[in-house]
């Protein structure tokens, strides 16, 4: 590629540095940097590693609570879950690689996020994924969906971490830019968390895992650039995942972590050896010296530049206590992984990289971090849309017909085809598998406790009103945890947006952060980790703003978790207020062919009151099934409960003042459907708590009996619900 070219402003540009940024490099170095040095600057100052466009906004997110042990800034967030245990979790995107090579892109995405979690000393116990694809009929969508699903399964199944949840949306805005966001959750003893700040002058710097090849060089800068028609040329060698090596790496690292050998540890993620060594030394305010001759190499003749920028997978960097080197070496040899001392810590405050006896890079770490670019990019607010008056939206359909069409559409149909390819039970602790409940529930080995896990975002709301959408995404995650009976603790986020240099995109970003912050604060649901993916555009067209939220909650007793499946002879009660909000609803899109109106607002005070009430009822043992009302509205929620339980429901008439289609398909927020043996008692309790509640029907029989006189059998509903994926994929 750039070998042989002189290091100058033109080359810096090719490496993604602006003229001003390059001037700053010259200033820091006091001379023309070497190629390797330029490489280090370019990846460390890339959007992916430096968060230069997003940092000013991310700082506004609430990140603290009494149960937060480590918020953003570490490899993953850490929260106290009781019993001396901590949950460690984070979500990360692999959007661009998954578009180029769906299988390997998604697989290595899973591998990367796993490493962020076990690098902190946690055994990964669950994976989730939030996926957005283009229109099913768009030329590449099918191959991308197939590859991404196989890749997630291929990696997760092999490493033996159950994939327990996630979400999928389709929209034209993702035709040329799918989103693959992967989340991992792990468990550690809360007094045994491992951090990345290096310490101890003279301590050995150790490389473990796979060998280094010329994989994905400049992946970090690529993830920071928009796709153009020439993206073929920007193609780096795609990384191939090796889940077997990852599995060995997990076991070897956890075995070593049970000793006292490790001072600091960090995975080699984006920008590989560069970012891991620079960040470890930087956080510890020490210097670091690397001798690349000792780096285990898969290929011959690699240059310093290539080794420093390689994104080969399944590698870790550690600082060890010098007297424990042999203990560590023995463990990695047992697991048949490479182990090499490649350097040591110094007091110079610099990173010095040697190769074949030549100093290839010598950079002061302080300025590299402190003078990293930080942009206050201009923002423009998204124009607000007026709320839709439901009475003005014509309805020509019987409820049963609209329901049958809605639950069959790609955004609402059964995802069984997808999760049937994910091992969701390995580990023997999965209490609620995909499809069984609003959040996945995974018990903690050796404890009665369980974690509840979910990912949520409604991008069409975010496009119409990014602030309302950001608020809604956090609220929906919170609601899904409540719906299984868990106490919501914290979130991780994955901010997927377009080109931040466009004010309207930066406006979306800022507004989404405002809405999210608002919800986090009121719901006591802080952000403890996250990831930003910008430049998600093809040919200048941006994706829908997609702040994907990964939520985590805890149940003290796994046996208290409830799912969505209903049994016969229960009363169904709707909690939360309904006005019949059709703006941006799926009914409006699928039936009326319109995508307009303001999205449904979230009243956070009402949200909190309803959620706390629902959770108390679940913990009191009064609730047999619970489902939050989201995409598709009330009737879709009821139909999902009926299909899961194989039981019909007779529904009562809604309030006269709301048109039927708006009542049954409106997407008003903050609502749950509860199935209880005795509706009257629940209504009394709700009234006492000041929470809106109304009895909407009774379960039993084989059919959904609707208030407009129509019926539809649960069998017919299931057939419609389960059709899309298998028929699309031909399996």
């Amino acid at each position: 590629m750039s070998m042989g070219k002189p290091v100058d402003q033109t080359l810096a540009r090719e490496f993604g540095l602006s003229a001003e940024e390059y001037a700053r490099v010259l200033d820091i170095m006091g001379r023309t940097p070497s190629l390797t040095e330029l490489g280090v600057f370019s990846v460390m100052w890339s959007e992916h590693c430096s968060y230069k466009s997003s940092r000013v906004w991310l700082k506004q997110l609430p990140t603290t609570a009494p149960w937060v042990i480590h918020g953003p800034g570490e490899n993953a967030g850490v929260v106290d879950i009781g019993d001396g245990l901590a949950a460690v979790f984070k979500m990360e995107s692999h959007n661009h690689p998954s578009f180029i090579e769906p299988y390997q892109g998604a697989a290595t995405g899973v591998g990367g996020i796993l490493r962020d979690v076990f690098t902190m000393g946690a055994r990964p116990i669950a994976n989730l994924n939030a996926l957005r694809f283009g229109r099913p009929e768009a030329p590449r969508t099918k191959a991308i969906v197939d590859g991404v699903v196989r890749g997630i399964g291929g990696y997760g199944n092999c490493v033996g971490v159950p994939t327990v949840g996630g979400e999928i949306n389709f929209h034209a805005a993702y035709d040329g830019n799918p989103l693959v966001n992967a989340m991992t959750v792990g468990i550690a003893r809360k007094d045994r968390i491992f951090l990345s700040a290096a310490a101890g002058i003279g301590n050995p710097v150790v490389y473990v895992g796979s060998k280094t090849g010329r994989d994905g060089i400049h992946g970090a800068t690529m993830a920071s650039a928009e796709f153009a028609a020439d993206s073929e040329e920007k193609r780096p060698t795609v990384q191939v995942g090796d889940p077997f090596t990852e599995k060995l790496l997990i076991e070897a690292c956890l075995e070593l972590m049970a000793t006292d050998a490790i001072v600091a540890i960090q995975d080699m993620g984006a920008a590989g050896l560069t970012s891991s060594s620079v960040e470890m030394a930087g956080k510890g305010a020490v210097g670091i010296e690397l001798d690349l001759d000792h780096v285990p190499q898969r290929e011959t003749g690699m240059t310093a530049y290539e080794m420093m920028l390689s994104e080969s997978q399944e590698r870790m960097l550690m600082v060890l206590r010098p007297d424990r080197e042999d203990v560590a070496r023995a463990i990695f040899e047992k697991w048949e992984l490479d182990f090499a001392v490649i350097g040591h810590l110094t007091d110079s405050g610099r990173i010095v990289v040697r190769h074949n006896g030549v100093v290839e890079a010598d950079i002061p770490l302080g300025p590299l971090a402190e003078q990293a670019p930080l942009y206050h990019r201009p923002t423009v607010e998204t124009d607000k849309q007026p709320p839709l008056n439901p009475a003005r939206v014509e309805n020509r359909w019987m409820l049963a017909d609209a329901l049958a069409k809605l639950i069959a559409c790609p955004d609402l149909c059964s995802r069984a085809w997808v999760w049937d390819q994910y091992d969701s039970t390995v580990g023997g602790q999965t209490v609620k598998r995909p499809g069984a409940a609003d959040a996945a529930v995974v018990r903690i080995d050796g404890s009665a406790r369980a974690l509840a896990l979910t990912t949520d975002c409604t991008p069409r709301y975010c496009l119409a009103d990014p602030e309302a959408g950001g608020r809604q995404a956090v609220a929906e995650a919170w609601r899904n945890l409540i719906a299984v009976g868990a106490k919501p603790l914290a979130i991780t986020d994955n901010m997927n947006f377009g080109n931040p240099e466009k004010p309207e995109i930066m406006g979306q970003f800022a507004a989404a952060i405002r809405g999210m912050s608002d919800a986090c604060r009121v719901l006591d649901f802080p952000v403890v980790s996250g990831n930003v993916s910008l430049y998600n555009e093809t040919e200048g067209r941006a994706i829908l703003p997609t702040p994907a939220i990964g939520g985590l909650g805890v149940l003290e007793d796994a046996a208290q978790a409830v799912g969505i499946a209903i049994a016969p002879w229960l009363d169904l009660v709707l909690i939360g207020a309904t006005v019949g909000w059709l703006g941006q609803s799926l009914w409006l899109r699928e039936m009326a062919g319109r995508e307009d109106g303001a999205p449904p607002p979230v009243d956070l005070a009402a949200e909190k009151a309803a959620g706390e009430f629902v959770r108390a009822q679940i913990l009191a043992g009064n609730v047999r099934a619970c489902h939050d009302v989201s995409d598709g509205g009330l009737l879709v929620a009821v139909a999902e409960m009926a299909m899961a339980g194989g039981t019909g429901v007779r529904l009562s008439t809604g309030p006269r003042e709301i048109p039927g289609h708006a009542y049954w398909f409106g997407e008003d927020q903050g609502r749950y459907v509860l199935a209880v043996p005795e509706g009257a008692a629940l209504l009394r309790a709700a009234e006492a708590a000041g929470v809106a509640a109304v009895r909407i029907g009774t379960s039993g029989g084989q059919d959904l009996t609707l208030p407009d006189g129509g019926t539809i059998s649960v069998t017919a509903l299931r057939a419609a619900h389960e059709r899309f994926f298998p028929s699309w994929m031909g399996t």
């Binding site: 291929g154 199944n157 077997f244 060995l248 390819q421 023997g428 399996t731």
Partner: protein, 234 residues
């Protein structure tokens, strides 16, 4: 019951198996590393599920060559009891300890879902907790569970009553629809001629706790525990 679980690199259901064995017998199983060769003192050797060596060449092919497999072969030859589930079953066929092979699922996709198994005979230590003809639920989680053997071998297995379990509909019917991975004659598990080695693809060990969705797999482990627990004085 003294059970040993063999751990090959890449195995990942060893903990699920340990939970099920301990729940039934009260005793923690011993974890046996793939390079060990001493299985003395064990009542039961278990080869669990997972992806030994990544299953990169063929499922179980590399694990079948491990040092421990010599010991497993000798243990079985001396009449020892061996339970091999999923990758374990694949390893036993690759090692030639059980006949046949496990091909890629007919759909060419990984299948992670419930299935139902019909108990073909209950007069074995493994199936003593069931009755012949019982239908029980188990979890499938494999990409290569498509049982294959030549006709002669299949006829011999049938003739000698060595088919342990078949994929069935919940009502017990043996249909192509129940046979998601495409196995010949719906075979989900087989015995060695002395009925002391069982290999099967689905996971009974993941259904031993009502919280995890059911206890359909528990009778298998209870049966084993009962067989190997010395009668306690009344």
């Amino acid at each position: 019951m003294k059970a040993g679980i063999v751990v090959f690199p890449g195995i990942n259901r060893e903990r699920d198996m340990a939970i099920a064995l301990e729940l039934a017998s009260g005793a923690k199983p011993r974890m046996v590393w793939h390079q060990e060769t001493d299985l003395s003192g064990l009542d039961l050797v278990v080869l669990p599920g997972g992806f030994s060596h990544g299953d990169y060449l063929r499922c179980g092919a590399m694990a079948a060559q491990s040092p421990v497999m010599g010991a497993v072969r000798a243990f079985a030859a001396q009449g020892g009891y061996v339970l091999a589930v999923c990758n374990g079953f694949q390893i036993l066929t690759e090692a030639g300890i059980l006949p046949g092979a496990l091909l890629r699922n007919a759909s060419l996709r990984f299948l992670s879902m419930d299935c139902h198994l019909r108990v073909e005979r209950a007069d074995t230590v493994f199936a003593s907790g069931y009755r012949r003809g019982d239908i029980f639920r188990a979890l499938m989680a494999h990409g290569d569970g498509n049982y294959f053997a030549d006709t002669h071998t299949l006829d011999r297995l049938e003739g000698e009553g060595l088919v342990a379990f078949r994929y069935a509909m919940p009502n017990g019917e043996i249909t192509p629809e129940a046979n998601r991975n495409g196995s010949q004659r719906n075979i989900a598990g087989i015995y060695s001629p002395n009925l002391r080695v069982l290999g099967l693809m689905p996971h009974p060990e993941d259904l031993v706790d009502p919280l995890m969705g059911g206890i359909d797999g528990k009778p298998l482990f209870d049966g084993l525990a009962a067989a190997f627990t010395p009668l306690r004085a009344a």
